[in-house]
Amino acid sequence: MEHIPLNFPFLAAALLVGISFYIIIFKKNLIKLIMGIAMLASGVNLFLVSLGYRAGGVAPIYTDVPEGPMVLSVPQALTLTSIVINVAVLALMLTMVIRIYRHTGSLDSEKSRKMKG
C-alpha cells in the first residue's frame, strides 16, 4: 500500500459516482438504471470506507494490541449498514422491474411507462 497515493481511493469513488450519474440520467433500460444505482452505492461505500483508512493502523480490538495507531471503526460500521440497506433496495427494485416487464412486456423506460403529464 506504500506506493499508492493516499487520495487514490477518493478519485476512484468520484469516478464511480460520476459514471453512475451518467448511467442513471441517460440510459433508457430499467436494468441498466438499477446497475447505475448499484454503482452509485458502491462509489459512496468506497468513499466511506476509505475515510476510515489509516496507514499502518490496527483493528480496534483491545486485547493484545500491537504498537501503532488504532483505526476508528465508525466508517466501517457505516459502510456495513449502507451495504445491507442497498441490498434490500436493489432487491426491491428488481422485483418491481420483473412486475413491470410482466405487465408491459418491455424494459425500455419510454415504452413501459403508462403515466404522463
Partner: protein, 522 residues
C-alpha cells in the same frame, strides 16, 4: 407515568417496529386480533406522542441516550463528544410527531376496509408499521447517520406499499419511480454525511453544529443535502415522481406519503437551521428555498388544472401546497441573520409555513381518503366518468367539501389561518411573492370546485345505481382527519401558541439544540 415519559421517545419508535413483526404472526391466527393490535399500538403511540409533547412544552428539549446509565447522559465519563446513539426531540420534532401519529392512525383505520379484498394483508400492515417507524425515527433522531437509516426504512416500506396492489401495471411503475428517487436521494445524503464526518469525526447533529466551519466540502455537503431532500419532498424541478406515486398508492398510503414527504422537508429545515444555522450564508440559501417554493406553488397548481384523474389532480396540489411551506420558512431563513426583520415578519412567516405543514397533512390526507372511498365504490379515478355521487355518498361528499374549502384557504377553515399568516408576513418581505401566493390559492379553489362538481353534483348516473356510502372504517378514518381540521379551524390561536410557536423557536434557536447534547460537557 414519569418512567413512561422518560422512555417515551424510544418507545414511540420501538412499539411500531415490534408490532410490525408481530402482525404477520398474529394475523395467521386471527384477522380480528391483528387489526385490533394494529389500531391499539398506533393509538398508544399517539397517546405517547401527546404525553411527550406536553412534557416538552413544560421541560424543554427531551434527550434520550440509548444504552447509557441514565437517559440524559449524552457523553460518557472521559469523552468530550457524544458517542452513543442519541434521540433529541424538540418543538419542531414533536410537531411532526403529532402530525404523523394522527395521520398514520387515520390511514390505518381507513385501510382496514380499503384493502380488505386484497391478498397479503399481513404484509401490508407490517410495511405500514415499518413506515411509521421510519417516519418517527427521522423526526426524533439526533444523529445524521440514523437519519439516513430511518430515511431508507421509510422509503423502502413506502415504495413497497405503493406497489402493493401488484395486479395493476401503474402501481408497479409508481413504486419503481419512488424507490429510484429515494435510493438516489438517500445515497446523496450518505455522501454528504461522509463529507462532514471526514472533517469533524462527528455524526451527532448538535455536536456537528458546534464544530462546523463552513469550508468548501461543507458547502458541497449542504448542496447535496438540499438537493436530496428537495428531491424527496417533491419540490418542482425534482417533482416528476410525486403524481405517479401518490396517485397509484392505496389511498391510506397516499395520505401517509404526503406526511412522509413533509418529514423530508423537516430534515431539510433541520439541516439548514440547526446543522448549519448561523455559519450559513442564510440569504442565498433562503432565496434558493423561496424560489423552490414559488416554482412548486405555481407550476404545481397549473399542472393540476388539466388533470382528469382525481388522485393525480390532488397530487399536483400537494406539490403546490408544499410550496407555501417552503416560502414561509424560506423567508424566515433569508432574514435569520437580521434580528430586526426576523422579529417584524420573519418569525411570523416561519410560523405560517410550519402551521401550514400541519394543516396540509390533515386536509390533503382527508382529500386522498375521500378519493380512496370514491375509488373503492366506483372502481376508477376518472373524474370525467364520475357524476352524481353526492346523492349516494353524502358523508364522503361532506368530508370532501371540508377538505376542499380548507385547501383553498376559505375562511374560517384552517388552510386560511396559515395562508393568511404567510401572505401577511411575506408581503413585508416582498409583495410580489405574496401576490403570487394569493393567485395560486384562487386557482386551487377553481380546481377543487371543478373536481367537486364533476364527482358529486349532477343527476344520479344509471351506472352508479349500486354505489353505497363508504364502509364504516373508512368513514372513521376520514372522520378523524375532518375532526382535526374542524378543531384547528375553531382554535387556530391555541394551536399556534402551543404547538407551532415552540416549533418556530426550536428552529431559530440553534443554541438550545446544541446545548441539549453538549450541555453536560462544557
Amino acid at each position: 407515568m414519569d418512567t413512561l415519559i422518560t422512555h417515551s421517545s424510544i418507545l414511540i419508535i420501538a412499539i411500531p417496529l415490534l408490532t410490525a413483526f408481530l402482525t404477520p404472526l398474529i394475523g395467521m391466527a386471527s384477522k380480528k386480533a391483528r387489526n385490533t393490535l394494529l389500531i391499539v399500538s398506533l393509538a398508544f403511540v399517539a397517546f405517547l406522542v401527546f404525553a411527550l409533547a406536553r412534557d416538552i412544552s413544560i421541560n424543554g428539549i427531551h434527550i434520550y441516550t440509548l444504552g447509557a446509565a441514565s437517559p440524559d447522559l449524552t457523553a460518557p465519563k472521559g469523552f468530550i463528544v457524544p458517542v452513543r446513539i442519541i434521540l433529541e426531540v424538540d418543538g419542531m420534532s414533536i410537531l411532526m410527531g403529532i402530525i404523523w401519529s394522527i395521520v398514520s392512525l387515520a390511514a390505518a383505520i381507513f385501510s382496514l376496509s380499503h384493502i380488505a379484498s386484497e391478498t397479503g394483508q399481513n404484509r401490508f400492515y407490517t410495511l405500514l408499521l415499518l413506515m411509521v417507524t421510519g417516519g418517527f425515527g427521522m423526526m426524533f433522531t439526533g444523529d445524521l447517520f440514523n437519519l439516513f437509516v430511518f430515511l431508507e426504512i421509510a422509503s423502502i416500506s413506502g415504495a413497497a406499499l405503493i406497489a402493493f396492489r401488484t395486479k395493476f401495471a401503474d402501481t408497479q411503475e409508481g413504486g419503481f419511480k419512488y424507490i429510484v428517487v429515494s435510493a438516489i436521494a438517500s445515497l446523496m445524503v450518505l455522501f454528504a454525511i461522509g463529507l462532514l464526518y471526514a472533517q469533524y469525526n462527528l455524526l451527532n447533529i448538535g455536536a456537528l453544529a458546534q464544530a462546523i466551519q463552513y469550508t468548501t466540502p461543507d458547502k458541497i455537503a449542504l448542496a447535496l443535502l438540499v438537493i436530496a431532500f428537495a428531491m424527496k419532498l417533491g419540490a418542482i424541478p425534482l417533482h416528476m415522481w410525486v403524481p405517479d406515486s401518490y396517485a397509484v398508492a392505496p389511498a391510506g398510503i397516499s395520505a401517509m406519503l404526503v406526511v412522509s414527504s413533509q418529514v423530508s422537508m423537516y430534515a431539510l429545515f433541520r439541516v439548514c437551521f440547526t446543522l448549519f444555522g448561523v455559519t450559513l450564508n442564510m440569504y442565498t440559501v433562503g432565496w434558493i428555498v423561496i424560489i423552490l417554493g414559488m416554482l412548486s406553488m405555481f407550476i404545481g397548481v397549473t399542472m393540476a388544472i388539466p388533470q382528469t384523474d382525481i388522485k393525480r389532480l390532488m397530487s399536483y396540489h400537494a406539490i403546490s401546497q408544499s410550496g407555501y411551506m417552503l416560502l414561509g420558512v424560506g423567508v424566515g431563513l433569508a432574514v435569520l441573520g437580521d434580528p430586526n426583520a426576523l422579529a417584524t415578519y420573519g418569525r411570523e412567516a416561519m410560523s405560517g409555513g410550519i402551521f401550514h405543514i400541519i394543516n396540509h397533512a390533515m386536509y390533503k390526507g382527508l382529500l386522498f381518503l375521500t378519493a380512496g372511498a370514491l375509488f373503492y365504490r366506483v372502481g376508477h379515478r376518472d373524474l370525467n366518468r364520475m357524476g352524481g355521487l353526492g346523492h349516494k355518498m353524502k358523508l364522503t361528499s361532506i368530508f370532501f367539501i371540508i377538505g376542499a374549502l380548507s385547501i383553498a384557504g376559505i375562511p374560517p377553515f384552517n388552510g386560511f389561518a396559515s395562508k393568511f399568516m404567510i401572505y401577511e408576513s411575506v408581503y413585508q418581505f416582498n409583495p410580489i411573492l405574496s401576490a403570487i401566493a394569493m393567485l395560486v390559492s384562487l386557482i386551487t379553489l377553481a380546481s377543487f370546485v371543478k373536481a367537486f362538481q364533476s364527482a358529486f353534483t349532477g343527476p344520479p348516473l344509471p351506472e352508479y345505481k349500486e354505489v353505497k356510502e363508504a364502509p364504516k372504517s373508512m368513514l372513521i378514518g376520514m372522520g378523524i382527519l375532518a375532526a382535526a381540521i374542524v378543531f384547528f379551524s375553531v382554535f387556530p390561536g391555541l394551536i399556534v401558541h402551543h404547538i407551532v410557536d415552540p416549533a418556530t423557536n426550536a428552529l431559530i434557536n440553534q443554541g438550545a439544540y446544541v446545548n441539549g447534547i453538549m450541555g453536560g460537557t462544557p
